[in-house]
Symmetry: C2
Subunit: 418 residues, 2 copies
């Protein structure tokens, strides 16, 4: 089926999804979870074909992302059940006013319509994204990566049974067969058919959406996150936060990539920092962090000299760039120049400095005395997320179910005119 055929079907199915009540949607989700487990062997067989085709063409890390197992399928099913347990965002009245003329105006969350998602090789995104879009009352069209296509198709086969079980149309969940660039472009330009496009992927995909999309789009993801250690920092706290922000899961977008240090404490702090990030980690059998140092830092500790690109790179690895700044203002200016607007933290005991940092840093999440790693739908109490938006319109930070909805004003009167 072509992209336009899938979208036309999804568009026809969006009313059925929008009108489905919470119980019906949840019944579908629970049946989808059960069907995933019931289809385990078919999904694993499809995944084996994907893995065989991919061997030799991708890194072990990427192969691991592609691989499924009974545990991972059970985890995907559990993820869907968690979405079923979340409150239904559709119909939520954000704001209600009664006007002097008697009109009652309710700003009400309503389903988006058709949500398209472009993603890459992790097969679990297929079920996660479908569950979130459907719970939010929208039809969805998924376009995954070529490497994972057999797995995704087997997963969607299972999920369709869940829709059947609740009497919802299979057309509400479409999977694009063509995984070429042309199908991504078709989704980006299907004006009037796609109400929201969510690209989940690397900078190339995001850039292609910015340049080409004529449909509404929420960009997710790239995170060049900074931790600024202020002159007035509790330095032990700073060490703990930095190690956590860098090392607890380096491959994710909320991991820190850059450490900024105030010059007044650099001579005291940086040796402890190097000790913690390299020597102690090696002693504990953990991967040490490669430190890429600006000249001021390099004068104080050992490490790799930083090239200019190191302050504009999402390493997603055990690498951290280190820059000594003259002031909190310089740290804020550095972040303004180099950040992707995802997550930044300040460590300081000074409330005044913290307030200035929190007010001026223009990122989705700004932290005081805690790790950047908390930028996450679960950690923020949203229960889930479709991704982390780094744009300023509509959704910023973790996109939960509410951010997958739009709203409309519903106005009730008894003959009022203006």
């Amino acid at each position: 089926m072509t992209v336009m055929e899938l979208l036309t079907r999804a568009r026809a199915a969006k009313s059925a999804m929008a009108l489905a009540d919470t119980d019906t949607k949840n019944r579908a989700l629970l049946a989808m979870a059960d069907a995933l487990v019931a289809h385990e062997s078919a999904i694993l067989a499809a995944n084996r074909l994907d893995m065989e085709a991919a061997k030799g063409t991708m890194s072990d890390v990427m192969l691991d992302r592609l691989a499924l197992s009974p545990q991972r399928i059970a985890g995907m099913a559990e993820g869907i059940r968690q979405v079923a347990a979340l409150p239904d965002p559709a119909g939520y009245v954000v704001n209600r006013v009664e006007r002097p003329n008697g009109l009652v105006i309710e700003r009400t969350l309503v389903p988006m319509g058709v949500i398209a998602i472009i993603y890459e090789s992790r097969p679990n995104v297929t079920s996660d994204a479908a569950a979130l879009a459907l719970k939010a009352g929208s039809a969805c069209v998924l376009r995954g990566g070529k490497e994972a296509h057999r797995s995704a198709a087997a997963i969607v086969d299972a999920l369709w049974e869940g829709l059947d079980a609740a009497g919802l149309p299979r057309d509400a969940l479409g999977l694009v067969e063509d995984t070429s660039r042309a199908s991504a472009t078709a989704l980006m330009t299907a004006r009037g058919y796609v109400d929201l496009l969510i690209p989940r992927g690397g900078p190339g995909l995001i850039r292609a959406c910015v340049d080409n999309a004529t449909v509404p789009c929420v960009e997710t993801g790239t995170g060049i996150c900074h931790v600024y250690v202020d002159r007035d920092a509790d330095q032990d706290m700073a060490l703990t936060i930095l190690e956590n922000a860098k090392c607890s899961r380096p491959s994710v977008c909320n991991a820190a990539e850059v450490c900024l240090v105030h010059k007044d404490i650099a001579a005291q702090f940086l040796p402890k920092f190097r000790q913690r990030m390299t020597v102690e980690r090696e002693q504990a059998g953990l991967v040490p962090v490669e430190l890429r140092l600006d000249p001021a830092a390099a004068a104080l500790i050992e490490g790799t000299p930083a090239g200019p690109a190191d302050f504009d790179t999402e390493f997603l690895d055990y690498i951290m760039a280190v820059h000594v700044v003259d002031s909190a203002e310089e740290a804020i200016a550095h972040i303004a120049a180099h950040s992707t607007g995802h997550s930044e933290a300040i460590v300081t005991a000074s409330e005044e400095t913290a307030r200035s940092f929190l007010a001026q840093v223009d990122s989705a999440a700004v932290y005081w005395n805690c790790s950047t790693r908390f930028t996450d739908g679960g950690e923020f109490g949203l229960g889930c997320e479709m991704g982390i938006s780094t744009q300023k319109l509509h959704a910023r930070g973790p996109m939960g179910l509410q951010e997958l909805c739009t709203f409309k004003y519903i106005i009730k009167g008894n003959g009022q005119i203006r």
Copy 2:
């Protein structure tokens, strides 16, 4: 100054605006209002030059939109004072959660940064838009129409004095000198410099933004609004609502363009409708409405036969297309096919039919038993508006001060790691 120079200056000024407290912003706004009045003669002189240049090139309606008078300037000043009196949206905590780990997470409205506005020939938009953007804590760059440029420049000269009076930088309010298409395109593609672009104009401008904009954009405005008179309508109420929705101000986007009538009451209702919209208005010395009728309506009353384009046209005039439908479902389907997603109304005494209409019609504002003319920031209690968004992301319906802001998450901890 080129567009990029203006944007670079606005970008440098955005921190000063974002950090300005409510009192400072309001002081600037009140001084801007006073300066407008103080500059009255200079503004009127510039406007006379615009009017002379425009004579013979535009209709009387357009000339009237372009014209300023002492009364209109006083009205613009009063508009700015009203914005000063509104609550400051920046810093408003939309949602606050304290997580089990002790993190306090505040979803907080914050200024957008740099807002660019492309508009046409009404000079009052210059002061309205500037006041709203500045109150929302953003710098703004305005690009008005060629016909009004001398007037706009004189208005901005006055507004700058208001910024001076509060110690805010003049660079926070830029006016594009070049009013060619190239400057509009430059604003649409100034990625990284424009945080929000608001095109205020006709379908051509909106389409150009959809096709070309790489900066975040909120589309405003075209309204092909429908009033559906259901089988169970109070017909007198329907007549009153239809006349109001069509005739109280036909040139605005929330005026109704299409009347849909249920077939079961068409033979009874349409003659009364024609009487009200044509005969009675003529008798009262008011402009009668030209009715463009589908075949079923034409079989019942006199009028102009509707061409197919009449159901996809924003007349902005005393013209209304009339279509007889077999059911409320057909009315909903017609709206889905022809609406611009602005405002639609149902007139019915049936709660069941109303609920179905309100749930299914996918427009910014959906009305039950009242006029579409209420889609307006003031009428919705927002106190003002920058325009009416017909898109689904970020802002939908009247864009008030809150919709001119973005938000960020501010997270406070005491050493939490994940």
